[in-house]
Subunit: 356 residues, 2 copies
DNA sequence: GCGAGTGTGGCAACCGGTTGACAATAGTTC
DNA sequence: GAACTATTGTCAACCGGTTGCCACACTCGC
């Protein structure tokens, strides 16, 4: 307490920022208890189990809490209960705009239920991602992998420890949130087919990207039925540069249209092509995935398959919270009926009729 | 539940996700202590104060820890020490690309020192921001306000409780990280002056944006000396829509050039102008601030004043960590010598000669 | 008037670390 | 060999909540 004096060091009036901050001792339930003249445990009950306590006592406690401007200490609660009211979010690359759409959805859903997001980036490295995952794991109630470069085994191991939801990757035994790949690819191919493209290249993303592989598989499966051939180019970095670097191989492949792994690559490719005097879509049609921020700024504006990642982020948090609840109630969690995550063809200007 | 649950059975293979997770009891220092045959407090010292313990004992403890795959429980440490190894990041709008540049810089600097970022969005609302700030405050070591809509008083109050760094706003008595406003405005005006613009509009951001006000003031101060007039339009939302909505008033103001509060507004305005058949930069020149992702995708590509926000995020974290250290050592924190955050004129295509 | 049932609130242990105080042991000096 | 210091490890209290268990007071039914 402050009333008691320091025996010999009279703590002189210190200037600067630090001094004020010393007044940081936040009020605790013990302070409330003293003020409301009850036992601390009663305060705890009044605040966290409404109804357990006599309504009059509860109100007395609540007003004391308000008077002291009491804030519960999350860490103190977390220690005995394990509940941290926190969800960890792991992303491979913060600067990919597709990611923040997901984060926004997740943030909203989390804040709505009083949860806070803990963020970690792995910079496209599996090792750093594993490290980050283990760093945040003890202090979160659940983990969401937005774009992961981890191996299936590593993910399963994490899922053993905490509720875990994966976006954009399908793993057996793990709650996965994946847009309908085949439908998206079908939308892409149908659009290209209508415009009479038959020779199509797929510019792949990183090898460790499950989604890139899934799209490649779906393309190979669906192209023949439409009389189309698929040339796979890659793997490459899922960035503007990665797209740009693929141009030579695209040109060498003698195709009239390109499906890029994501919008970033599509835009990189498109800009490289334009810079070389190749007309888009006159000589080369380009189609992306995601519909990221800025994809309608390009010229021509990018035709793309929109992935509703905000929805995915939102759903991921809801699932995570449900899993947390199921854990707490010691009941089985089962994936709820949810609307599927449906892709949508956004026709803009980067895909045109095949040159003849 | 299908599993037989005889108490001594060697945990039969139970189906379902929950069952596995029950094995979540993480090893503690008590487990290590038992294995290494020392007292738990010795384990604590060995792990967190290398050298305090006999080197042989320490190594025995470390290998026991490794063997058990021990992870320190951050909450348990945080409770007595107050150190959470966590920095809170508050942003007004996650979907503004300028923000994630800053986050990336912050994330890197934080991860480097073993710190984790806690993220909260306030959706451009001061009230929600205050709420979010108080929610995360107890569980972070420091707070960084990337783009804040809080009042000065609210910020000062937060700064009293925890180390706090503000980006893009100058507040007396608070560690502020602000790019050189006057220099940026000078760069903008010089560029416009060279192209013989004399009537310029400033499309302002939100009223609560300190930076918008600062730019407006600097414009008013610097324009006359260059023989220019400034019309201020706004305030408006710092978004694509906000920029679009300003078009009518820009046209009514009879100017040849526009300086927008940020790139988002600049792009929104430019697209609205183009849609109305107004040539950019033929009839109207547009200049933005930030150099966000995508600002070079537009047609014409956006001329803008680049703010190195990645650097700002990085510096903010470093400062925050230094303040935390200073607090721990009970020493005075003083702002270090840092390179100033210098803006840079990025000339692209949205500013041209004034029509005559 | 008595026992059972219910509502209320206190006691104390616990979560997993940290740390000041101190005891035990080892090492040094005279 | 005694006195003294340095090193090493132990004990126990503490951080701020949560919760099982229990005591007490009161109501109700018979």
């Amino acid at each position: 307490m402050s009333a008691e004096d320091s025996p010999d060091a009279p703590t002189p009036p210190v200037t600067g920022v630090r001094a004020n901050r010393r007044a940081k001792s936040a009020p605790t339930i013990y302070d409330i208890a003293r003020l409301a003249e009850v036992n601390p445990s009663t305060v705890s009950r009044a605040l966290s189990q409404p109804g357990r306590i006599n309504i009059k006592t509860e109100q007395r406690i609540r007003s004391a809490a308000k008077q002291l401007n009491y804030r519960l200490n999350p860490m103190a609660r977390a220690l005995p209960t394990g509940r941290t009211s926190t969800i960890g979010l792991l992303v491979a690359d913060i600067t990919n705009p597709m990611f923040f759409t997901a984060v926004r959805g997740a943030e909203r859903a989390a804040a709505e239920r009083g949860y806070t997001l803990v963020l970690a980036e792995s910079q496209e490295s599996g090792a750093r991602e594993a490290e980050a995952a283990h760093r945040v794991l003890p202090s979160v109630d659940a983990l969401i992998l937005v774009v992961t470069r981890l191996s299936d085994e590593a993910i399963l191991e994490l899922a053993d420890r905490k509720p875990l939801v994966v976006i954009n990757r399908m793993i057996d035994g793990v709650s996965s949130l994946v847009p309908d790949v085949d439908r998206g690819i079908a939308q892409a191919l149908n659009h290209l087919a209508e415009l009479r493209h038959t020779a199509v290249a797929f510019v792949a993303g990183p090898e460790t990207s499950w989604m890139s592989g899934a799209r490649a598989r779906s393309l190979r499966a669906q192209a023949p039925g439409r009389g189309m051939t698929i040339v796979e180019i890659g793997p490459g970095a899922p960035t503007l540069d990665g797209g740009r670097d693929a141009l030579d191989r695209v040109l060498a492949a003698d195709v009239t249209a390109v499906v890029a792994y994501n919008d970033l690559m599509a835009i990189g490719l498109m800009r490289a092509a334009t810079a070389q005097g190749i007309a888009v879509p006159g000589q080369l049609s380009i189609l992306g995935f995601d519909d990221i921020f800025g994809s309608d700024f390009t010229s021509p504006p990018l035709t793309t398959i929109r992935i509703p990642l905000g929805l995915a982020g939102d759903l991921a948090v809801r699932r995570a919270l449900d899993m947390i609840d199921a854990d707490a109630a010691d009941t089985e969690y089962s994936t709820p009926d949810e609307p599927p995550i449906l892709t949508e063809l956004v026709i803009r200007g980067s895909v045109g009729p095949a040159p003849r």
